[in-house]
Amino acid sequence: MKHIPVILMLILAQSLAFAQDNYPDLKQISKRLKALDKNSSVNLSTLTETAGRQDIYVLKIGTGDLDNKPAIAVMGGVEGYHVLSVELALQFAERLVTEEAKALEETTFYIFPNMSPDAYAQYHEELKYERRGNASNLDHDRDGRLNEDPYEDLNKDGLITQLRIESPLGKYVPHPSDPRAMMEVDTSSSSATRYRLYSEGLDNDKDDKFNEGLKEGYAFNKIFSFKFPVFEPLAGDYAVSQKETRALLDYLYKQFNIYAFVTFGPANNLSSPLKYNAQEAKKRIVSSPLEGDVAINKMISEIYNESISQKPYKQDNQGTDGDFFQWAYFHFGRLSFSTPGWWVPEAKKDTTSTSDQKIKETEVSNFLKWAEQENLSNVFVAWEKIEHPDFKNQTVEVGGVKPFVMHNPPFSKVDSIATEHTHFILKLAQQQQKLEFHNLKVEDLKGGLKRITVDLLNNGNLPSHSELGQRSRWLKKIRVDLGASEEDILVGNTVELIDRMEALETKTLSWIVKGSGNINLKAGAPHTGFADININL
């Protein structure tokens, strides 16, 4: 039995996936990808190698004529510090092939598990910090010097946290409900000790800025061409400048069947949909999603909120300049959905305290409260005094929330998050456009002529083309091919093109032909799939 080793491998992959107690390192990730590749419906390939000599992988998962089935692309690791996203993409792939392979009958999937491996690796390095940039060189502050002011681990705990310096010039004070958390000073907290707050490190180049000359390169999620933040740190001189970014786009531009992206990243248009701004949508440089596409977003967002048990809390990032998620819609014309997968939930109100009703929770104070309620003890480095050469004779402390913990849940929670998100993506796939022929009629006219009439139906909840995608040359039109020779067609063409079909829209097609026998009629595009029918003249 040929299938047994495959199944064994999958079980092995599964056990690798679920026996872990921490997010995988790059080696473990490639091991799991290679295990997946053993499955006959999976094709693993490498797009390129990053400046840090890490492979950029893609899994193409599908069966049959997989290039001509509508496809969804799933993105992980658009931000290196968001290690959850890689695990979600991986688990989606694993669950898809083991538990949900039926979905492959209708849909092909592309999974890009980790687009920022150079930055991701920092999670497992001796020195841990939330890294975004790849391993290329970039002069972030554009002063003509490279890497001149990186982070330093002053308290030698292997983590980059924060520095606070007692100073009347400071702009931060301890949070009244949890003095570990620092918040911006306001007039109501005039009596509190004020602090200056920096990331942990030295001012190596003595320019009064801390850690502005980072020892990391370009952030994947900041270098795309939509609203590219030119010359900003982590973005550089022009869009799509990095090898891995170019390799990804060169690949995507050849995959004509992709109609939607699901990105696991900081932006969220699934908890609540993007809004339509008529003025921005009508400009030549479109910067609001078009009206019809906002309606689709709303429908998919409803499905998301039904699938995901976590309640939205402070999910107000709906895209940042140069990010991938917006590029996929605005410049690539595909439906684009994004979610962080997990966020710090709203902590339960403190029932014991009665007086401090007015105190506003900050992100950090809410996080610390939630962590306490969850009995997570390992999330904070207590403030501890150190000697700092840039602040001689001043009270300087190192401490703060540990890196990663506010963007990535404890690993034990990932399993259920991955299950829910897998189901969401599969429900999204069930909405997809689907072309079908109905009501085929062949009428005999005089002299051996025949009139063919047939209805083409889009039997899906999504239109064949997003409203913006319809404008893009990189999304093919629906092509109707009648398999008769030009001379035999008296009315109509062998090839006709349809720009777009709405959800559940029907178009009636007709021809007058001469001749007899069987001819084939076909309609579709790679991203809509094809309908096929035999006509007996």
Binding site: R142, D143, G144, D205, K206, D207, S225, F228, V230, F231, D237, Y238, A239, V240, S241, R246, L249, D250, Y253, R284, I285, V286, F330, H331, F332, G333, L468, R471, S472, R473, W474, K476, K477, R479, E486, N493, T494, V495, L497, A525
Partner: protein, 577 residues
């Protein structure tokens, strides 16, 4: 980097040329303004294929190894080398550290003469070096990076394959233009096999045109209520894919001048964009070269046609990028250019032409802070010194009657078309209209070159004009150095300063114990700003055009100190006591 060596064949050829040069002494009398006895014989009244361009570049490099460097900056889509010729006096400093002028041509493959104008520039500069004091000094101070064609594949296609004056324009990548899932399945067809794509007309009872009884080359439209003889069927071609349309999906189409990394926009915003900034190998090669050569301070890109000296912005959305201070410099140089090149007008792309996002000149300026022009070469003014505008058929027919004697026009001739039946094929050739006729080429090349020389001349030229010492007691003294930029362009354009595109200029002192360093902002009122860190090397954000910067150090000791200036776009120089 690939440097091409002598071949024995070339050496022989050059020996022969020298022979003929000595004969020239007896037979010829010098014309002002032109190399009289060029080491490299070249004709400036014809066009070069890619092979011809490379041949000429190699000949120039072989003849002038101390003035030139030939380098491939990358490969085209079809694998041709994109050659760049650096021209400078290599005996007076590293050419890659001198203020430089970048010149390219032929980004649109059918706009061919930019390559000849670029080549003429390289030829003229090398041949005139040693002849003219001005050129000697120019090549001592500056470097010219000259890339005659940045679209070599489709240049050859334009010349060797049947085309209209307007095709291919893109490079050789074939895309699906009509969205039917097939790419390039229905291009032009050269039915009469003359290597030109001209027009098809057909006799028709419902036609709207007649042949002009006084000039049967010309079709004229009859008044609406009258019957004509002919109908127009468009450019030569067949419906190759049976979709009812002719010539709707040929080479390309995309526009290499929409592929550059400044405010790039996708295809649906403007037809012509490819996948992402620098997704075409040719523009990527140029971008990589420019990124590696921060000494480029001025740039010129040659297109055709219409007689224009263009500056950005390419699009109204980008108006704010071009600020007043930089526009003053653009205006000063281009207004001089209008005087040098009769018939050419100084215009702004978005206002006077059309919108371009992601164009080459916008990236050079917006993305690199380099003052850049695009010249639309060839203007009908050159024919009869009249301003009849682009594509004036009457004027063009007159040109071909009185100046080119029928060379520009394919006379109407009957042809049996598989789909249209009996038709006639004829019209202007692809190398007429946009391209200069031979007799106008050299003059316009010289004038446009003169404009780029003026532009290059106005890149920064720095000197330390004064170093003053003043004792301030306690064994300390003040040393004040004045650095002068004697040309129009600053070392950093305002766009450069806005984004810190290139690093600051560095003014450093050595052999002195520096106590403090400062930039003197107002000598008279003793205003200065101190640089606390590392005052030995003062970081000067900019040295303005036609202006000075004063740097002051307080030092102890320091008898034989030395002052160095290191500017990306202003070059390197030093002063020692």
């Amino acid at each position: 980097m690939k440097i091409i060596n002598y071949t024995t064949l070339f050496s022989l050829a050059i020996l022969v040329l020298f022979g003929s040069a000595s004969q020239a002494q007896e037979k010829f009398f010098r014309a002002i303004g032109t190399p009289h006895q060029p080491k490299v014989e070249a004709s400036w009244n014809r066009y070069n294929t890619y092979a011809g361009i490379v041949d000429l570049m190699k000949k120039i490099t072989d003849a002038y190894p101390e003035l030139t460097r030939l380098e491939s900056i990358g490969k085209s889509y079809e694998g041709r080398d994109i050659y760049m010729l650096a021209v400078s006096d290599f005996n007076t400093g590293d050419p890659d550290e001198k203020p430089a002028m970048y010149i390219d041509g032929n980004i649109h493959s059918n706009e061919i003469q930019g390559a000849e104008f670029s080549l003429y520039t390289a030829w003229y500069l090398t041949e005139m070096f040693g002849e003219l004091e001005f050129i000697n000094q120019l090549l001592k101070d500056k470097t010219f990076y000259i890339v005659p064609t940045i679209n070599p594949d489709a240049r050859d296609n334009y010349m060797k394959e049947p085309n209209t004056p307007h095709s291919p324009r893109s490079g050789m990548i074939v895309l699906d233009n009509d969205g039917d899932g097939n790419a390039g399945e229905d291009g032009f067809d050269d039915l009469n096999k003359d290597n030109h794509i001209t027009y098809m007309i057909r006799k028709s009872p419902t036609g709207q045109y007649i042949k002009d009884p006084q000039d049967n080359r010309r079709l004229i439209r009859v008044p609406m209520e009258e019957q004509g003889d002919y109908e127009m069927l468009g450019f030569e071609g067949i419906d190759n894919d049976n979709d009812g349309e002719v010539n709707e999906d040929g080479i390309g189409y995309y526009d290499p001048n929409r592929d550059w990394g400044w405010k790039w926009q996708p295809d649906y915003v403007q037809r012509g964009a490819y996948k992402y900034p620098f997704s075409l190998p040719e523009s990527r090669a140029v971008a990589d070269f420019v990124m590696k050569h921060p000494n480029i301070a001025g740039a010129q890109s040659y297109h055709n046609y219409g007689g224009m000296i263009l500056r950005g912005p390419g699009a109204e959305e980008d108006v704010d990028t071009y600020n007043r201070e930089d526009i003053r410099i653009y205006d000063a140089i281009a207004e001089k250019g209008e005087e040098m090149i009769p018939g050419y007008r100084y215009l702004t792309v978005y206002k006077d032409l059309y919108s371009v996002f992601g164009g080459e000149l916008d990236w050079f300026y917006g993305g690199r802070g380099i003052y850049t022009y695009t010249n639309e070469l060839m203007v009908s003014y050159l024919y009869f010194h009249e301003n009849k505008g682009r594509g004036n058929q009457e004027e063009e027919l007159k040109v071909d009657k009185y100046l080119t004697f029928g060379d520009a026009f394919v006379d109407w001739k009957a042809y049996n078309h598989t789909q249209y039946g009996e038709i006639e094929i004829g019209g202007f050739k692809k190398n007429f209209g946009r391209a200069h006729p031979g007799f106008l080429l050299e003059q316009d090349a010289h004038r446009n070159m003169a404009f780029t020389i003026y532009h290059a001349y106005q890149t920064p030229k720095l000197s330390i004009i004064n170093v003053e010492e003043k004792s301030i007691g306690n064994g300390l003294k003040e040393i004040t150095a004045t650095i002068y930029n004697e040309r129009l362009m600053p070392t950093h354009s305002s766009q450069d300063l806005k984004y810190n595109i290139e690093r600051p200029d560095l003014v450093s002192i050595s052999n002195a114990d520096v106590v403090a360093g400062m930039i003197v902002e107002d000598e008279d009122f003793n205003k200065a700003s101190e640089q606390v860190q590392n005052p030995e090397t003062m970081r000067v954000s900019n040295i303005p055009g036609m202006g000075t910067v004063k740097v002051r150090w307080i030092v102890s000791g320091g008898k034989n100190y030395k002052i160095d200036v290191d500017s990306e776009k202003g070059g390197k120089l030093s002063w020692s006591k």
